[in-house]
Every structure is written in structure tokens, then in C-alpha cells.
Symmetry: C2
Subunit: 206 residues, 2 copies
């Protein structure tokens, strides 16, 4: 059952801890693959093509857009960021569940194109806790924190468009829960059409 992987989009408030959850998922279980984005921004020291990002020229990137080779893409400041289809398809075909970490606009676009996509939204238990986590980083100015909180307010409007709500309170529990949810999703009837058809055929022959 469920030989093919599931495409999973993870979004969440900045400060919800989704990066940490994903990192821990990859460390703990071996059936997940993190999608690697393509970007036109320059590699930073230590970054490797095909590991952090697929680094592309603007021309290459726009060719990918034209050839419909991206699941979704967006332009931030002066750079393109997008999700190459080929890598995701390869991993799904190999039976891996592929995790995409993107924001809500991209998430909804992906779901529209691929309705079987699983949308997960990671949130801290309260908005107070969100602020505490942002402040706790100690690297952000008050202005940056305020603008993140304002953005969270906007993003919250889209929470109910996600399939599952992941409250990240205790990291260990949260990671286990996300894993359980994905494993459970593999048992959805509509993801097991081949099994159902085989069973029907077998029973007809009985």
C-alpha cells in the first residue's frame, strides 16, 4: 500500500519552529525528502549547488518557468525562488514523502495543481508564545519582530485552508505527531485505489 510518496507542504508563522521540526523529521525518519528550491540569488559561502539550492541564472530560471518545470515560484526582492518539478517527481516515484517548506500563497498554488498534496500549518500554542520565541532568538530588532507579528496576523487568515494544524508546543511530540499524520494519510482510501481495485478483482474470482 502507498508505494508512491506524498507531497507535503509545510507552512507556518515565522517563529513557529517549522524549520526545527523539519530538521528533526529528517534526522529521525528515513522516508522523507526535503525539496530543494531553485533560485537566482548568488550562493553564499559554504552553500553547494544541489544541496541548499539549485543555483540558476535569471535566463535559466525564466526558461524553467516557460517550460512549466516549476511546481510554484515567486519573486522576492530581485530574486526568483521556485520548486523544480523533476526533483520532486523523482523522489515521489522512489516512494519518498517530499516536504516543501513554503509560504501560504505558494502552498495554495501547489494544492490547486496537485490536489493530493497534504497541507500542514505549524503554529505555536498562543500568539504570546510566538512573540516570546521571536524575542528569544535575540537576533531580531523590535521592528523586525513587530513586522513578523503583523505578517502572522495576515497569515492566520489562511490557516483553515490547510489540511492539518500542527501545534508546536513540545518539539519531540510535535515531530512524532507530524510523522503519524503523514503515515495515517498513506492509508486514505483515495491514495489506495490500486489496492481497492486488486481486492475487488480477487473477490470476483473467489
Amino acid at each position: 500500500m502507498g508505494e508512491r510518496g506524498i507531497l507535503i507542504v509545510v507552512s507556518g508563522f515565522s517563529g513557529a519552529g517549522k524549520g526545527t521540526v523539519m530538521k528533526e523529521m529528517m534526522r529521525r525518519y528515513d522516508n522523507y525528502a526535503l525539496s530543494i528550491s531553485a533560485t537566482t540569488r548568488k550562493p553564499r559561502p559554504g552553500e553547494e549547488d544541489g544541496r541548499e539550492y539549485f543555483f540558476k541564472t535569471v535566463e535559466e530560471f525564466e526558461k524553467m518557468i516557460a517550460k512549466d518545470e516549476l511546481i510554484e515560484y515567486a519573486r522576492y526582492v530581485d530574486n526568483y525562488y521556485g520548486t523544480p518539478k523533476s526533483y520532486v517527481q523523482e523522489q515521489l516515484d522512489a516512494g519518498k514523502d517530499v516536504i516543501l517548506e513554503i509560504e501560504i500563497q505558494g502552498a495554495l498554488k501547489v494544492k490547486e495543481k496537485f490536489p493530493d498534496t497534504l497541507l500542514l500549518f505549524v503554529t505555536p500554542p498562543t500568539s504570546g508564545e510566538l512573540r516570546r520565541r521571536l524575542e528569544g532568538r535575540g537576533t531580531e530588532t523590535a521592528d523586525v519582530i513587530d513586522s513578523r507579528m503583523k505578517r502572522a496576523k495576515d497569515e492566520a487568515e489562511g490557516m483553515d485552508r490547510y489540511d492539518y494544524l500542527i501545534v508546536n508546543d513540545v518539539l519531540e511530540e510535535c515531530v512524532g505527531l507530524v510523522h503519524q499524520i503523514i503515515q495515517g494519510e498513506h492509508r486514505r482510501s483515495y491514495r489506495n485505489v490500486a489496492f481497492i481495485e486488486r481486492m475487488k478483482e480477487e473477490l470476483k474470482g473467489e
Copy 2:
């Protein structure tokens, strides 16, 4: 989150082992309640009103139908069987996930009335295994086994109407999986409207 219980309908082929799975669920976890059916059939020795069944007269049962006090009901041979609303509601309100073990027609009726109902279908991995289990009981005649297999063929036509497909191969794993699926379902966005609304309100006040 998920303070209210979920109504769960479990169906499956006769011989799939759903009774055993349910019994083990009740033994292992304490957040589930098995729904108790009402019936007009006479209690058998050792059966207790309110434990195996709620025993009713035909008049009482028909009054329950008239007053819409049953989630679903059916007539087998000369007896009524049905699921009283009040008991299920009480358990759901108390935060218990309530499990109903009924066949496919009833399952679809319940889902129609209560769209939040979770429909689980329990099946052995193959039809050959189904036959082996029925034969392995050693209590059924060849005719009874054949009629069960024929019924399974009809029931298989409805498998894809269920939310999840539970392949009961190794009992222990199957029980854990059903538990995980139900726990995961508690995190569905549409089951957490109150949490989402609270979060939106809090973020507006930030």
C-alpha cells in the same frame, strides 16, 4: 485542541478481524467508547441491558424512530437494531471518541447525517487471507463461508466511500495504526475552528 470526541464508524468484511481490533483498542487506550446499540431482540443469557445492548420493545423502538432518537437503524429478520443518539452525544461531549461498528449502508447514512464522521474500513491484505481466516474459525460450514465471501464481493464495491483503509495484517500494528489515524484526525483544521478563531483574535490584539 480537539476537546470534543470524533464519531468513528468501523466497517469491514466479516472475517477481517474488526471485532478483535476494536476490543484491543478499548483495552489499550482509554479515550475511546464503543457505541451501544438498541435492539428489539430478546437478551441472551448473560447479556445485560446497557452493556451488550439497550433492550427495547418494538413499541419503544418505533417511538425512538418517530422521535428521531436514532443515528441509524435497520431491521434484520424480525428485529430492529439501531444506534441511540443520546449515548453517543454524551460520550462525544465528554471528549471520548465514539466507535460504531456497523455495516456499509448504515455507515453511509451516518456520514450523510454527520459529515464529520470518520469512516474506517478494515480489510485483510488479500481475499485469500479472508477465506483462510473464515475457514480457520472452524465453526462455519462451507456454505456459510461461501455466502460471506459473496457478501464481501458486494461490500468491496463501497470500500472507496470510506475515509481510510485499514489493512489488518499484524493485529498489534493495525491497532496502533487505527489509534494514530484517529489522533491525527483530531488535528484536522476543520475540527479546530475554535483554536483558529482564538489565534486570529489574539494576533489582532498584538
